[in-house]
C-alpha cells in the first residue's frame, strides 16, 4: 500500500474520477468566490483606510440590483452543483444487473465478508478488476460504515437493515477500508484492506479455500438443521418460487396488505415471524432472533432465493441475480474498457 505523501487520494473505481471532476469544479467555484471576497476586502481596507480621525463617510443605502445579482447568481451555480452531485449519487445507487453480490456484515470490531462462491474473509475484501460488485451490508450490533476512500464510496451499515453500495474496481492495488461511523472502543481498529486483483488472480484466490461453501448451501444445511422443512411446504407457506413475488399478509396492526418477498421481508419473517402473517396460515412459527447470526440469516435467504429458480451460476454471478445471461467462464476483463458492462437502471 502506498503510504507516502499525498495531496489527492488515488482513484480506483469507476465513480472515483467522476467525484474528483466534480470536486475540482467545486474547488474552482470556491476559489473564485474566495478571491472575489478576499480581494474586495483587501482592496477596500487599503483604499478606504481611515486617513483622519474626523472622517465621516457618506451614507450608502444599498442596491436592489446588486442584492438580486448576488441572490440569483449563486442560486444558479448551486443548481448546477446539485444536479451534478445528484447524477453521481443516483448512479451510485443503481447497480447493473450483472453485478456480483458480496455480503458484508459489520460487528464490533471487524468486517466479515462472504463471496457468492462461499469464500469468507475478515477485514479484507478481494474483488476482480473491471467487474461490477454489489455489496449487501448489514450489522450484527451497532451502526458501522463501510468506506473505501480510493473508490470514493461509503455507506452506513445499520442493524436490522440491508443497505448496499456498488462499484467497478478500475485499478489493481491495495486500498484502505475504514469503518467511518463511530461504533465504540475499537472503532479505529475496524479497518481492512481492499485487494483489487486481475480476474485470474481473483479466481485463484477464490479457489484458495477448498472447504468454502456457497451461502445457499450453508443455508440449506441450516434449513434442515432447524427442521424448517417439517412445516414449510407441508402445512406452512411454501417457499419455492417465493422470492421476488407478492405475498398477501396481515401486518402487526391487523391490516391486510400485499408485500414483495424481498431480502428485508425474508429476514423479518425469520427473525420476527409474527409481524407479518401470511394470509391463510396460523401465527405458529417461532422466532429465530436469538438463534441465528446475521450471517446465518443471509445464508438462509440465499437458500430461499435459490429455491425460486435462480440458479447459482458462474463465478461472477451472485446467486440472487436471476437467470444467467453471462458466460460462466471467467473471461478476463482486463483488456476491456472498465465501463464495458456498466449500465444503470434509470
Amino acid at each position: 500500500m502506498d503510504t507516502g505523501f499525498q495531496l489527492f487520494p488515488r482513484a480506483a473505481s469507476q465513480i472515483a474520477s467522476q467525484v474528483d471532476d466534480l470536486v475540482l469544479f467545486l474547488i474552482a467555484v470556491s476559489l473564485f468566490f474566495i478571491l472575489l471576497i478576499f480581494g474586495a476586502i483587501l482592496w477596500f481596507i487599503i483604499r478606504y483606510r481611515r486617513r483622519s480621525p474626523f472622517e465621516r463617510p457618506e451614507k450608502i443605502e444599498g442596491s436592489t440590483a446588486l442584492e438580486l445579482t448576488w441572490t440569483f447568481v449563486p442560486l444558479l451555480i448551486t443548481v448546477v452543483m446539485f444536479a451534478w452531485g445528484a447524477d453521481i449519487f443516483v448512479k451510485a445507487h443503481h447497480p447493473p444487473d450483472d453485478a456480483m453480490e458480496i455480503f458484508v456484515i459489520g460487528k464490533q470490531w471487524m468486517w466479515k465478508i462472504q463471496h457468492p462462491e462461499g469464500r469468507r474473509e475478515i477485514n479484507a475484501l478481494h474483488v476482480p478488476l473491471g467487474q461490477p460488485v454489489k455489496l449487501t451490508l448489514t450489522s450484527q450490533d451497532v451502526i458501522h460504515d463501510f468506506s473505501i476512500p480510493a473508490f470514493r464510496l461509503k455507506q452506513d451499515v445499520v442493524p436490522g437493515l440491508y443497505t448496499s453500495e456498488w462499484f467497478i474496481p478500475t485499478r489493481i492495488g491495495e486500498y484502505h477500508l475504514f469503518c467511518d461511523q463511530y461504533c465504540g472502543a475499537k472503532h479505529a481498529e475496524m479497518q481492512g484492506i481492499v485487494y483489487v486483483q486481475s480476474p485470474a488472480d481473483y479466481q485463484h484466490w477464490l479457489a484458495g479455500d477448498p472447504t468454502a461453501q456457497p451461502p445457499s448451501s450453508a443455508g440449506k444445511k441450516l434449513f434442515a438443521m432447524y427442521g424448517c422443512e417439517s412445516c414449510h411446504g407441508q402445512y406452512g407457506p411454501t417457499l419455492a418460487g417465493l422470492y421476488g413475488t407478492p405475498v398477501q399478509v396481515t401486518d402487526e396492526h391487523g391490516v391486510r396488505r400485499t408485500v414483495v418477498a424481498d431480502e428485508a421481508y425474508l429476514r423479518e419473517s425469520i427473525l420476527y415471524p409474527s409481524v407479518k402473517i401470511v394470509v391463510g396460515y396460523p401465527n405458529r412459527m417461532p422466532s429465530f432472533k436469538s438463534t441465528l447470526s446475521e450471517e446465518q440469516v443471509l445464508d438462509l435467504i440465499e437458500f430461499i432465493k435459490s429455491l425460486s429458480g435462480a440458479a447459482v451460476v458462474g463465478p461472477y454471478q451472485g446467486p440472487s441475480l436471476g437467470p444467467a445471461t453471462q458466460p460462466t467462464d471467467a473471461e478476463p476483463k482486463i483488456n476491456n474498457p472498465p465501463f464495458a458492462n456498466y449500465r444503470t437502471n434509470q
Binding site: 478576499f38 452531485g85 445528484a86 451510485a92 468506506s147 480510493a150 445499520v158 467511518d180 472503532h187 479505529a188
Partner: protein, 540 residues
C-alpha cells in the same frame, strides 16, 4: 470584595458596585449581572473542552501514539463535543453578549422576565454540573451525537448522566429564547421600530425562534434514549424492535438548527463591528435582517443532509440536498453585504474589526466547503471524515468563536468600563487567525484523503497533515490564553473607557460604561440605527 485583585473600583454607582455581597450576585435579576455570571461559567467550560482538544491533538501527533488508550480518546472527543456544543457555543453569544445587550440596544431597563433569566443560569449550572459529574465518574464515550443503538444499548459509560445534563441545559436555552422574543416584541423604547432594530437584535430574534422551536425536540429525543436505556423500551434499537435511523432524524432536527443557533448570533455581532469600524450604515440592512430570518426558517428543513449515507431513501437524499443548497443563499447574501459595507467607508483595523474580517474570511471558507457536503456525489466520499471536522470548525470556531471574541472585545469597555491594551488585542487576533488556519485547513486534505473522524490511531500516510494540525493547535491555544490574560489585567489596570470609546452608533453607547443598574437614567428615544453619517467625530 475590594481586596480581590481584578475587581476594578468605580467611583459612580453602576450595576457592578450597586451591592457587593455574594447573594447580590447569585440572586440578581439584573440582566447585566446574569450576563457576567454566564460569561464566567462558559469560560470555565470552554477551558475544559479546550483541554480535551489539546490532549487529542497531542495523541494525533503520531499514527500510533500511546499517550491515551482508545477508550480514553473516545471519551475525550465526546467531552470536547458535548461541552463545546451544548455548554459553550449554544449559550456563548446569546447568554453573555445577548443578555447584556438586548435590553441596552432596544432601550429597555431589563429583559421581560428577569426571574426566568436567573432561572436560565441556574439550569445552565445544574446541567453543566451533571455533565461534568459524568466526566469525573469516568466519562461518556458515545460522541456528542449520541447515536443509537450504541448510546441506548451498547455503551457502558455514564450516558444517562450526560444526556440529563444536556436535557436540562436545553431548558436554559428555551428560557433565554422566550425572554428575548417577548422583550424584543414588547419592550422597545419610543422610536425603536422593527426596521430600526440593530442587526444584532434581528439575529438574536432569529436565534430565539430556533431556541424555542428546536430545543424541545432535543429534549424529547434524549428522553427517549433514556427510556430505552433504563427501561428497555424499544424505540431505536432494532434488537428491541426500534429504528436507529429514527434517532438520527430526531437528533438532527434539533442539531442542524442548532448550527444556526451558534452562527446567527455571530453574524449579528459582525454586522455591528463592520459598521462601527467603517463608520457606515450596513449595506442592504433589510436584506441582512431578513436573511437571518430566512436562515432560521430554512434551517429547519435541511436536517437529513447529515444522513445521505445513513440508509435513507435516494429521494430523501435528493430533496435534502436541494434544500441544503437553498440555505446557503441567505448566508452568501450576508457576506456580500458586509463586504459592500466597507465600500467608501472609513476603515480602522482595531482588534474587533480584525476579528470581524477574520470571521468573514473563515466563514466564507466554511460556507463554501459546506457546499461540497451538500453535494450528494461528494458527500458519499467525505462524509464522516476530517473534511466534515474541518468544515464545521471553520463555521463554529472560525465563525462563531471569532465573532464571540470580536464582540467580547468590542463591548468589553461597555461591560467593565475599562479599555484593554489595543496592541495586545491585535497581536492575539492575528495569532488566533494563523493558528486556526494551520490547525484546520490541513484537515480538509486529510478528509479528502479519507481519514475517518473519531480515530485514536491512523494510517501513516496521514501523519504530515496531523502534525501540521497539532502545531496549529498549539498556536491557537496561545491565541486564546493571551486575551484571557490581558482582559483580566485590564479589569484592574485598564484605562477608563468613557461612554463611547469607539465612536459607535447604538443606544448602548449613549449610557455610562459600565451602565447604571437600570441601564438608562431616562428612557432613550431611538432614531435611525447606524447613523454614522450624522455622527460628530470631531472630539476623537
Amino acid at each position: 470584595m475590594a481586596s480581590i485583585p481584578f475587581i476594578p473600583e468605580y467611583t459612580v454607582e453602576i450595576y457592578l458596585n450597586e451591592r457587593h455581597t455574594v447573594a447580590s450576585w447569585l440572586l440578581t435579576k439584573d440582566h447585566k449581572r446574569i450576563a457576567v455570571l454566564f460569561m464566567i461559567s462558559i469560560t470555565i467550560l470552554f477551558a475544559i473542552g479546550g483541554s480535551a482538544a489539546v490532549i487529542m491533538r497531542l495523541q494525533l501527533l503520531t499514527p500510533h501514539s500511546t499517550l491515551v488508550e482508545a477508550e480514553t480518546y473516545n471519551k475525550l472527543f465526546t467531552l470536547h463535543g458535548v461541552v463545546m456544543v451544548f455548554f459553550f457555543l449554544v449559550p456563548s453569544i446569546p447568554a453573555t453578549l445577548g443578555n447584556f445587550l438586548v435590553p441596552l440596544m432596544i432601550g429597555a431597563r431589563d429583559l421581560a422576565f428577569p426571574r426566568l433569566n436567573l432561572a436560565s443560569w441556574y439550569l445552565y449550572i445544574s446541567g453543566s454540573t451533571l455533565a461534568l459529574t459524568s466526566l469525573i465518574l469516568g466519562g461518556v464515550d458515545t460522541g456528542w451525537t449520541f447515536y443509537t443503538p450504541y448510546s441506548s444499548t451498547f455503551s457502558n459509560t455514564h450516558v444517562i448522566l450526560a444526556i440529563t445534563g444536556v436535557f436540562i441545559v436545553g431548558f436554559s436555552s428555551i428560557f433565554t429564547g422566550l425572554n428575548f422574543i417577548v422583550t424584543i416584541h414588547k419592550m422597545r423604547c419610543p422610536g425603536m421600530t422593527w426596521f430600526r432594530l440593530p442587526l444584532f437584535i434581528w439575529s438574536m430574534y432569529a436565534t430565539s425562534i430556533i431556541f424555542v422551536l428546536a430545543t424541545p425536540v432535543l429534549a424529547i429525543t434524549l428522553a427517549l434514549v433514556a427510556l430505552e436505556r433504563i427501561l428497555g423500551v424499544g424505540i431505536f434499537d432494532p434488537a428491541l424492535g426500534g429504528d436507529p435511523i429514527l434517532f438520527q432524524h430526531l437528533f438532527w432536527f434539533y442539531s442542524h438548527p442548532a448550527v444556526y443557533i451558534m452562527i446567527l448570533p455571530g453574524m449579528g455581532v459582525i454586522s455591528e463591528l463592520i459598521t462601527c469600524y467603517s463608520r457606515k450604515s450596513p449595506f442592504g440592512y433589510v436584506f441582512i435582517a431578513m436573511s437571518s430570518l430566512a436562515i432560521a426558517v430554512l434551517g429547519f428543513l435541511v436536517w437529513a443532509h447529515h444522513m445521505f449515507v445513513a440508509g435513507i431513501s435516494i429521494y430523501g437524499g435528493l430533496v435534502f440536498s436541494m434544500l441544503s443548497f437553498l440555505v446557503a443563499i441567505p448566508s452568501a447574501i450576508k457576506v456580500f453585504n458586509w463586504t459592500s459595507t466597507l465600500y467608501k467607508g472609513s476603515i480602522q483595523l482595531d482588534t474587533p474589526m480584525l476579528y470581524a474580517l477574520g470571521f468573514i474570511g473563515l466563514f466564507t471558507i466554511g460556507g463554501l466547503t459546506g457546499l461540497f457536503l451538500a453535494t450528494l456525489g461528494v458527500d458519499m466520499h467525505v462524509h464522516d471524515t476530517y473534511f466534515v471536522i474541518a468544515h464545521f470548525h471553520y463555521i463554529m470556531v472560525g465563525g462563531a468563536v471569532m465573532a464571540y471574541m470580536g464582540g467580547l472585545h468590542f463591548w468589553w469597555p461597555k461591560i467593565t468600563g475599562k479599555l484593554y491594551p489595543e496592541v495586545w488585542g491585535r497581536v492575539a487576533a492575528a495569532i488566533l487567525f494563523l493558528g486556526f488556519n494551520l490547525t484546520f485547513f490541513p484537515q480538509f486534505i486529510l478528509g479528502y484523503l479519507g481519514m475517518p473522524r473519531r480515530y485514536y490511531a491512523y494510517a501513516p500516510e496521514f501523519q504530515v497533515y496531523n502534525v501540521m494540525s497539532s502545531c496549529g493547535a498549539s498556536i491557537l491555544a496561545i491565541g486564546y490564553l493571551l486575551p484571557f490574560a490581558y482582559l483580566l489585567w485590564s479589569l484592574k489596570y485598564g484605562k477608563p473607557a468613557g461612554n463611547n470609546p469607539f465612536k459607535a452608533a447604538g443606544l448602548e453607547w449613549t449610557t455610562a460604561s459600565p451602565p447604571p443598574k437600570h441601564n438608562f437614567l431616562k428612557t432613550p428615544i431611538a432614531g435611525e440605527p447606524y447613523a454614522y453619517h450624522e455622527m460628530d467625530f470631531s472630539d476623537v
